[in-house]
């Protein structure tokens, strides 16, 4: 009996997503049953890494089979979910999905910053966004998508924020490493260009007469939006 099929049967009947640790526990319990045969006993001490490999293999099998459902790992736990394209019928089946309203643009931006840079303080978030985040932070905290994870060891000991398990579930992410372009944004270091940056190439070296000309072009482009607006 292949390990992945045992896992498939478990996930098929499980009432909640199962983590490899929980599956390990099930395997141990199964082996301790009186009627456990050699196969069951042999899997008593199965390692979590083995399970993960088998689960990934199973997920690939399902992917290759192109079924209407797939095996996904959300927040470290595995479950079967339907493919998004069948949503219209499923929505009709289960009724209106009890899902909170979608997040606003500021909330999404704030959440994106926290998710990639956590743990971070409110001031650090505001520094990136350039605006106050009091209101959006309140929303995110209320919805349980972010939480206080400690205090920064700086003056005033401000609260540090991080994302919750619910955040991963809400977006269907396996973990924080699963965030889009996670490597790039986690500790984003914007390379300072080798050549000294000038606001306007040539401007700094051009004589004042040319500057006036530059001003003129700036003024002309300034009037452009106004023209557009009249249309």
């Amino acid at each position: 009996m292949e390990l992945k099929f045992i896992l498939e049967s478990l996930l098929f009947s499980a009432q909640k997503p199962l983590s490899p640790a929980e599956v390990c526990e099930i395997f141990t319990r199964a082996a301790e049953q009186d009627d456990a045969d050699a196969t069951v006993k042999s899997l008593k001490k199965v390692k979590e890494t083995e399970l993960t490999t088998a689960l990934e293999q199973l997920a690939q099998d399902h992917e290759a089979a192109a079924r209407s459902y797939r095996l996904v790992c959300v927040a470290g736990s595995w479950q079967f979910v339907t493919q998004p394209e069948f949503a219209p019928w499923l929505k009709a089946l289960v009724g209106v999905k009890a899902r909170p309203s979608r997040l606003s643009q500021p909330a999404l931006e704030t959440l994106a910053i926290i998710s990639y840079r956590q743990p971070m303080t409110r001031a650090e978030i505001e520094q990136i966004r350039g605006v106050s985040v009091d209101g959006t932070m309140q929303t995110l905290l209320e919805r349980g998508l972010v939480e206080s994870v400690g205090r920064a060891e700086v003056v005033g000991r401000p609260t540090l924020y991080g994302t919750t398990t619910l955040f991963l579930e809400y977006f269907g992410l396996r973990g924080l490493a699963d965030l889009p372009a996670a490597d790039e944004l986690r500790r984003l270091i914007i390379e300072k260009p080798a050549a000294p940056l000038t606001a306007d190439p040539g401007l700094a070296t051009t004589p004042p007469e040319q500057l006036k000309q530059d001003e003129a072009t700036a003024a002309s482009s300034e009037s452009a939006p106004a023209e557009e607006a009249t249309k």
Binding site: R99, P106, L185, L197, S221
Partner: protein, 270 residues
């Protein structure tokens, strides 16, 4: 002004507005003309004021930063403040660009999160109903009644019915107290014993009766508990929990058992 149908976007903050202006110029953030950007930014703030929109402080801070950058640029090159290459963050232009790039990246990330959010709305997990049959089975009978025990012992006694024709006569070498010791001894080595096991070695009807009486006596003394692990399963006998086990049967108990023995035996026969 009211005759114009102006589409006025709401910006999240000064950085959002700057990004919008850069996008309109269709240039890379790194190559943006900050002087031009400053002019446009101020123009936009003017527009906001015309519309009586409340201008947040952040916009004014940004406007002043842009003005500062612009003013530096206006100086002839030989009079410009030379930024030491080592002093990071000293150059306001670089600082602004860095902030813009960073903000842009997160804004894009937010858009991706929004896509994920929308996708996740259409994803339905498999939620099987609870496997009811597991809990539907009747709870294990905790205690076995005297009638259950009598039924059980009667079925054991059936073994000896056939031998009645060729009856051997031998002395009754079994006593209840001896059997009590036997049961206690057996249950010190193992956790439980099946009812039938108790009578496996019984040679005669009277031995079965003796063992049974010993069992009853021990139950009466609350030394043993009879239970059925599940309905219709064989009766199991195990030690009562939380009772100090008796090493040897108390003498009065044996007497009582012996005294009641004939009566009980009659009852089983009938």
């Amino acid at each position: 002004m009211s005759e114009y149908n102006v589409k006025f976007e709401v910006f999240e903050g000064p950085l959002d507005l700057l990004l919008y202006l850069i996008k309109k110029e269709e240039v890379d953030i790194y190559e943006v003309n900050l002087t031009k950007l400053a002019t446009q930014f101020i123009a936009h703030i003017e527009l906001m004021r015309e519309f009586d929109l409340e201008i947040a402080g952040e916009f004014l801070v940004m406007a002043s930063t842009l003005m500062y950058i612009k003013s530096r640029e206006l100086l002839p090159v030989d009079q410009q403040v030379q930024v030491e290459p080592e002093e990071d963050g000293e150059d306001p232009r670089w600082e602004l660009i860095r902030q813009l790039v960073e903000y842009k990246k997160f804004k894009d990330a937010a858009a991706q999160l929004q896509t994920l959010e929308a996708r996740q709305e259409g994803v339905f997990p498999r939620l099987p109903a609870k496997l009811e049959f597991a809990s539907d089975t009747p709870a294990a009978k905790p205690e076995v009644s005297i009638f259950d025990l009598l039924n059980a012992v009667n079925s054991v006694l059936k073994r000896f019915e056939k031998r009645d024709s060729t009856r051997e006569i031998f002395e009754d070498k079994w006593t209840v107290s001896e059997k009590i010791e036997y049961i206690i001894r057996t249950l010190t080595t193992r956790e439980n014993i099946r009812f039938s096991e108790l009578f496996e070695d019984a040679m005669s009807r009277s031995e079965v009766v003796c063992t049974f009486l010993a069992l009853l006596e021990l139950i009466r003394l609350k030394q043993l508990v009879c239970a059925q692990p599940e309905a219709f399963a064989e009766i199991e006998i195990r030690r009562a929990t939380g009772v100090t086990p008796i090493a040897s049967p108390p003498v009065p108990a044996t007497d009582v058992a012996a005294a009641t023995a004939p009566a009980t035996a009659e009852g089983i026969k009938s």
